[in-house]
Amino acid sequence: MTEGAMTEAGPLLEISDLSIRFGGAPSNLVDGLSLRLSAGETLCIVGESGCGKSLTALALMGLLPMPPARRMSGRAVFEGRDLFELSLDQLKDIRGDRMAMIFQEPMTSLNPAIKVGEQIAESVRRHRGVSRAEARAHALEMLCRVRIPAPEKRLDEYPHQMSGGMRQRAMIAMALANDPALLIADEPTTALDVTVQAQVLDLMRALQQESGAALIMITHDLGVVAEMADTVAVMYAGRIVETGPVARIFEDPQHPYTIGLMSSMPDLGPRGGRLVTIPGVVPPADAMPEGCRFASRCPFAAPACAEAPPLRDLAEGHSVACWLAPLEAVEPGAAEEVA
């Protein structure tokens, strides 16, 4: 299957109605999630910790931890095949080849006992069936592409000999080694220093443009979203509450949670008063409300919210799961009062 054919025909990845529940849990940790991603597109999934964003990514990779009872429903069609229907062997052929993942912690995500070059090369050998020497040469090329200084030397170094930023570059090299069509990055910069964060983001964007891979970036950092995203999906307590093109979400957020997130982001420049916070906490999994999961913290909550609002299209590509959207119709200027 050629990449060119995929770009033209339909989405690269289409998730429909994905729900994940761990055994014995009273409610879904990810609930009815649907998403589309075209080739080369960057989708940012935003939300606070525990909202199910990492779970979604791990489910796509088939890497969810396997407690005795795990229930998953829905479809995730990637390059024409439903990832959840594939056998483990078929999934392994795709993982690290057509679809790769970068994890949050560069400190613990690389194997401390294996040389970095080998950790990249083994993935190349696995999927391309090339010789050791060829795989090593390719690993070196990848280290050059992620702009690690003195790449020849780094091939034979162990992870502990590298800085956090360098390790994350090595992780990126590893993930991109086989030219995946989809790269999933789970908070790739969260564990890094601020200056290194910017470098790593720049690098990811440059490499993505070079390779044409689509990117799902999971983050809780709206700065990262503004920098990277084409499309944004805002998650709250396991559901997508708002999704749309990045410019629209920043300019005209419609879901009260998105509005809260936006106004809790500090601006540069002189500080003007306190930062806005969203009152309350995310309901725990065993006390998840039947209806809108944000209702208990929502300044606009209404009786209608006792029923779960579906994701509705407001405009081209912009959908919101809120009975009150579009907000202007309810209460002009409400966004400022969310605090």
Binding site: L63, K92, G96, A100, F103, S109, P112, A113, E122, M171
Partner: protein, 315 residues
């Protein structure tokens, strides 16, 4: 690596000296007098005095110590008060037997314990895990002497496959030597296998949950590569630690098994020497065991450095 070994050997010297002082002093504090044991029923004061002079037991204790340690440095560990043989000869005779037994037992323990531990961790909560744990627990609870006797009854007496006892040196007839040793080694090895299995299992459980194992899976690697290359390598460190400790234990602790299979090993030498207040032999044995322990520890540290690249840089 060479610098590391030199450093470790240098540190070992004061350690061994300390142990030697400790053993020497402690033994003098033990009740009982070897000379009385030697002098026989009559306990003629002249004989006793003669023996005390002969073995220089009238010297001040520090002088006795220097005599002994000075001799030890030149390879003379003294003479057994009981058998009148040089201690070094006694030890040189018995130690290889016990080392052969210990190594064979350890190989059996590793071959059984590590794979079962890995499998049991990998299939945590499955039937395999349950069975492995139950078998391991029984392995730990069954006394060696009982297992030994049962094995002799079954394999030697009933089936006649292996000799029930006896010892043939490895240098004389390697095959026969292994045949005579395999049952006692099995008895010792199964008990240790249970310990090793438990340690391997818990080390693997920790490692299998780690981020880098998830990364390895995310690369699409097969499970055998994930488990053996990425996980086991990192779980080996505690396994090495336990193995070296077990080896040290085997050197001194195989007495009962050696008795049952009538193997002329170290264990019997220790027990006889202690009961007969054979100071020179006890001291020699403790010194040898201490050296063996320290050597095993240095070996373990060297293996750590091979397994864990982070340790190579620490000074």
């Amino acid at each position: 690596m060479l610098g590391f070994l030199t450093r470790r050997l240098l540190i070992a010297i004061p350690t061994i000296l300390l142990i030697s002082i400790f053993v020497f002093t402690l033994q003098k504090l033990l009740p009982g007098d070897p000379v009385l044991a030697m002098a026989g029923e009559e306990r003629d004061p002249a004989v006793i005095e003669f023996l005390r002079e002969k073995y220089r037991l009238n010297d001040p204790i520090w002088m006795q110590y220097f005599n002994w340690i000075g001799g030890a440095l030149t390879g003379d560990l003294g003479i057994s008060l009981r058998t009148q043989q040089p201690v070094l000869t006694l030890i040189a005779e018995k130690l290889p037997v016990t080392i052969q037994l210990a190594v064979m037992a350890l190989v059996i323990a590793l071959v059984i314990g590590v794979p079962t531990g890995v499998l049991s961790a990998y299939r945590k909560g499955s039937v395999i895990d349950w069975v492995a744990n139950i078998v391991a627990l029984s392995g730990l609870s069954i006394p060696n002497f009982w297992l030994g006797i049962m094995l002799i009854l079954l394999v030697s007496v009933k089936l006649g496959w292996l000799p029930a006892s006896g010892y043939v040196p490895l240098t004389e007839d390697p095959l026969q030597s292994i045949r005579t040793m395999i049952m006692p080694a099995f008895v010792l090895g199964t008990g240790l296998a249970a310990t090793l299995m438990r340690h391997t299992r818990s080390a693997m459980l920790g490692v299998l949950r780690s981020d880098y194992v998830r990364t390895a899976r995310a690369k699409g690697l097969g499970e055998s590569v994930v488990v053996l290359k990425h996980a086991l390598r990192n779980a080996l460190i505690p396994i090495v630690t336990v193995t070296t400790l077990l080896f040290g234990e085997l050197l001194a602790g195989a007495v009962l098994t050696e008795q049952i299979f009538t193997i002329p090993g170290f264990g019997k030498l220790v027990v006889d020497a202690v009961f007969n207040r054979d100071y020179a032999v006890v001291q020699g044995i403790v010194l040898c065991t201490a050296v063996a322990f320290i050597a095993m520890n240095i070996l373990a540290d060297a293996i750590y450095r091979v397994l864990n690249p982070r340790m190579r840089e620490e000074q």
